[in-house]
Symmetry: C2
Subunit: 336 residues, 2 copies
């Protein structure tokens, strides 16, 4: 199995990306294709014992930078690691693409080079979070700021396929983000999407409020890309806010400081339970190829786990399953 | 200063509401008018030494229950504590109204009985949160699920008046919730509202992402009532989620448990810093009277603090200030 890694993508590229790629090749038995500036990649690769694992390098002279405007950069930088890497997937020379680079850039480039899956109106970025009960996915978290009800239905279908085929959750429970539990609460968009979800044949459980996101009520949480983006960034910010004030308060007195020291292993556990790098990335669903968007601040472990995500998506036949489910569930809806 | 308290509103009414009202009368020197079923209120009042503080009771035979549909209940229950209480404000017999009851009911009843402030298109519910730097207000958090750009401008004006007049923050910094820091990011609604905010003369600092809500970047955070509602409920849910997993992990081993015990005062401090009952309630801005919506689960201290909020809003001349600012800043916008 061959997976392309955008070696130039991310805040600490290519150091961290190359190290993550090496880990994935060693531990997950993947063939990793590192795409980017060859000399820089080879310099990093030289630091590792890489005779065993299967790592190759494909040169690309340009980089879509974090501060680049996605649409412009994708058009202008034809020899960027993103475009060259995605083209390898398009040509069938690799089965998936992973990048920790400019996430808007990855989305635009993937749409542009791989195209949408037939029947899908808008691809969606799907974040994997961990609730008290286990993993859940929320989508869209940023690909589409303005949505229609039918998009939300498609997000629900794609999210369900992902949870079932890739994470092995049977009949995933689907909820829609709203302002109250009861049917009839929410914006015009939510009310319309609710109707579509109700008759979709999915395991639809109704509205989910912000407070329920981490309670494990639903496995798939659908929302428009504006709300979803605000939600995951708020969750991220709050994690930092909490840790910050706990640390501040613990340091205030000698006894509480001692207590904090003793409780350290517990805090470490808490952190690892909240550590999104365990999952490594956000799959971009609805394009004709497996694409994983990793966090710009990814460490090598997160890069490795993003590659693992790609591997699982390939093994689960995710793309084919999305294609089939969309055809089965949406075409009927359109004919209405 | 006379403030009406809906004695029947909230999950633990009238016990908790009456106790909160007594505290407010004793500690804040307010005249509190308890509205609701007189016999039940008097039974609760009998538990306290109330000769000193000034507490009166006004009978209302009906109650708008938590599960009632707001619009229907407000029309049907003309002798409810909410309607009777708001009418006292309308007639000028009291200067503010506080309720921990059905929040949709309070909003509809207030709009219906007090009316909108001239020039305001939609009243907004404004939540007061505490960041690392101090208090901030976010609005709308639930009065309007679907919004237009002009509403958001009006929310910004009302929030600024609130922070300046009631919480004493000079030239409050106004941000708008969006999906990226740079101008040009966000939904259609955000882009339009951004333009209005830019030329409003308010201290507009631009986009604020979910992760910045608690960083103290802005004093007033505006958003549509759907996103705002989801955000504050997510924040509430995450506080519970964090405390839950920290407790779980600390209890796992004897040493971490001991550490947790020693660090307890620090945790207590953390909780009190996150304790929304410190502020007590959410002002409903844009109606012709001071109205504070308290949390349904309010304890007596939260009720007292909601009454304090009402007192501060009266002292700050909030209603008049909103009227003036809306006229000054919005009428020009309309004339364009």
């Amino acid at each position: 199995m061959k997976i392309v890694l955008d070696a130039m993508g991310g805040d600490y590229a290519p150091q961290v990306t190359v190290e993550g790629g090496v880990l994935a090749a060693q531990e997950l038995g993947l063939e990793v294709v590192l795409v980017g500036r060859e000399a820089a990649i080879r310099r990093e690769l030289a630091k590792y014992e890489t005779r065993g694992p299967s790592l190759s390098v494909v040169h690309a002279s340009q980089v879509i930078e974090m501060e680049d405007k996605p649409a412009t950069a994708v058009k202008a930088k034809k020899d960027s690691s993103m475009i060259v890497g995605l083209d390898l997937v398009k040509k069938g020379e690799a089965q998936a693409f992973v990048s920790a680079g400019n996430s808007g850039g990855v989305m635009v480039a993937a749409l542009f080079r791989l195209g949408r899956t037939k029947g899908i109106q808008r691809p969606a970025l799907c974040a994997i979070l961990v609730s008290r009960e286990g993993p859940l996915c929320i989508l869209d978290v940023g690909a589409n700021t303005d949505c229609r009800a039918l998009y939300l239905l498609q997000f629900a279908i794609m999210g369900s396929v992902y949870m079932e085929r890739v994470l092995g959750i049977e009949e995933p429970r689907v909820g829609i983000v709203s302002t109250g539990e009861e049917e009839g609460k929410g914006s015009q968009l939510v009310l319309e999407a609710y109707e579509l979800l109700k008759r979709s044949g999915l395991n639809f459980i109704g509205n989910v409020e912000g407070k329920d996101l981490f309670s494990g009520l639903a496995d798939v949480v659908v929302t428009d890309g504006f709300t979803g983006n605000v939600m995951i960034k708020l969750a991220e910010g709050m994690a930092g806010f909490f840790s910050g004030i706990i640390e501040e308060e613990i340091k205030r007195g000698p006894l509480t400081a001692l207590g904090g020291l003793l409780a350290k292993p517990a805090f470490r556990q808490v952190r690892s339970r909240l550590d999104y790098s365990e999952y490594g990335g956000a799959p971009l669903l609805g394009v004709e190829g497996v694409v994983i968007v990793a966090h710009g601040r990814s460490n090598p472990k997160a890069i490795k786990n993003a590659l693992r995500m790609a591997k699982q998506a390939i093994e689960g036949g995710m793309i084919e399953a999305i294609r089939e489910e969309i055809e089965r569930r949406v075409e009927g809806e359109r004919g209405r």
